[in-house]
Symmetry: C2
Subunit: 304 residues, 2 copies
């Protein structure tokens, strides 16, 4: 048994000598999100296939943590970094690139960095999602979005607005809060206590959707009969009985795998050049959280 062999080589010596640790890092922002779990699995797999070890870190959605941890990882001379960043501000990526450490980014465009990015098109997906609700007959829609600093939140809000504009509808309201269940809960409370209630809400993230659904339940509003909820990234999970939310799914596994591949191409020297941007398609999945509005029968077909 190799594993039983007494002698274990010291990679510190080897790495010091060769300038390669054969370790890459995956830095995710929120480990509570099942989305991140999928990334951890996929990156680990893709890296192991190519002989690399992966170490994971989570930043709890804090840019300061993100920078601290990238620094620590680079101190330990990881060969590269896959980053699922907190925001698209350039600081973290700048820092890593400034240290000549290869990096690839999962999630959203990085306008100020010439870096490899793998993402999906949030804006278009949000439009599609909103159109789906409009197609069901909804006319009063609200948006529960994420932090303004985060690109996905902005893009999803834009897509929402664009779909409404195309249908010549006005949004009932538009909210921002952190990407957490608690944030969703508070936004939904506000929505339900306002004068005009929407018949459907678009949420910018799965945790927000969970919070929104909890608030609806607590205030006695039935989903989907009285209120439809749609969301993003409600990934199927072994730990959950049933997918519940109608929403947009990103090809998480493929995104993570691709980001790892791009990274290792740079690490191994097979590629060096300008940043590549790969945009993968999303898909809409319909589940139990949506229905036509209660008063749908009264009106004609609403599809433009």
């Amino acid at each position: 048994m190799i594993a039983e062999l007494r002698y274990v080589p010291n990679m510190l010596g080897q790495s010091l000598r060769t300038n390669r640790t054969m370790v890459i890092a995956l830095v995710v922002s929120d480990i509570n999100n099942p989305f991140a779990i999928q990334q951890i699995r996929s990156v680990g797999e893709a890296a192991r296939e190519r002989g690399y070890t992966v170490v994971f870190t989570h930043t709890e959605a804090s840019e300061k943590n993100e920078l601290d941890q990238l620094r620590t990882l680079i101190e330990h001379r990881v060969d590269g970094v896959v980053l699922s960043p907190v925001t698209n501000r350039p600081d973290s990526v700048d820092f890593v690139m400034g240290q000549n450490v290869p990096i690839s980014v999962i999630g959203y465009p990085m306008p100020y960095n010439d870096v490899d990015v793998v993402r999906s098109d949030s804006r278009t997906a949000a439009e599609e999602l909103t159109r789906y609700l409009i197609g069901l007959g909804h006319e009063r829609l609200a948006m529960l979005s994420g932090p303004r600093e985060i690109v996905t939140a902005r893009e999803r809000t834009q897509g929402f607005a664009a779909a409404l504009a195309a249908a010549e509808l006005e949004p009932v309201s538009l909210h921002h809060a952190p990407y957490t269940a608690d944030g969703g809960y508070r936004m939904m409370q506000a929505v339900l206590q306002a004068d005009t209630r929407p018949t459907a809400v678009v949420t910018a993230n799965n945790l927000i959707a969970v919070g929104a659904a909890r608030a609806s339940r607590d205030l006695g509003v039935k989903v989907p009969n009285e209120l439809s909820i749609v969301t993003f990234d409600d990934a199927p999970s072994d730990a959950v009985l049933d997918p519940y939310f109608t929403g947009i799914l990103q090809p998480t596994a493929e995104m993570a795998e691709t980001a790892t591949r791009l990274l290792l191409e740079r690490v191994s020297g097979d590629y060096s050049g300008e940043g590549r941007e790969i945009v993968l398609p999303t898909r809409l999945e319909v589940h139990a959280s949506t229905a036509p509005p209660a008063d749908a029968g009264k009106r004609g077909d609403r599809t433009s």
Copy 2:
């Protein structure tokens, strides 16, 4: 800004010289389990407080992966290991201790290793859980357990059996399968297709419970009206709308934090001596997956 400083020290040199990396490893077996997420958070926090960095690895419930990864981690000279092991076989722990690397174990007793262990009492908890069902009036109970090689599965089965024996009841049946939703699904199918159906099942793990609930739904058996399901470790999660299963909760965060503390006591040299075993209390939480049996009214009080 410190993080902007151009120079980043090379920990490889430092570590090679000082024999300390200030990094500890957390090796969990199944990252799909929300249980593991909590461990990742808690160990990370406890270690950071004490100036250590944590790297995570998951073994996909394979002992081979576990050993491989421990080896890789030790090659990179982590200062210690927190292990949430696949089984209680001594090989992994032996290997780590044989390399003079401090280790502490989360989960279950390690009869063949003199090692620090933090765990809860699965057997007693399973008894309590089963007694709860009996107290509701259930007399026909089945057990959907985990792999025979895994201690928690054995202990939980023993507790189940003990509670039944104390109430002078016979189990309807007893099944073993992997700790996965799929395993639970198959066991539940078998249970529901047998001649005598139980009115309640005890599952040995949250993923098994999810599979069991899916099978019940697919076969048209209503939970909890026609069938009660109880489980272990159905940790509350931000990603889930509501805790659904009645079951036993372990103090996951406290266990992980304690294991980290014990480990770092050894790493720092504050403690060296024989293995310590810390057993933390569990608690029973009642949710929507249990009810008295449909025919409960017909009989008298069943509590012994």
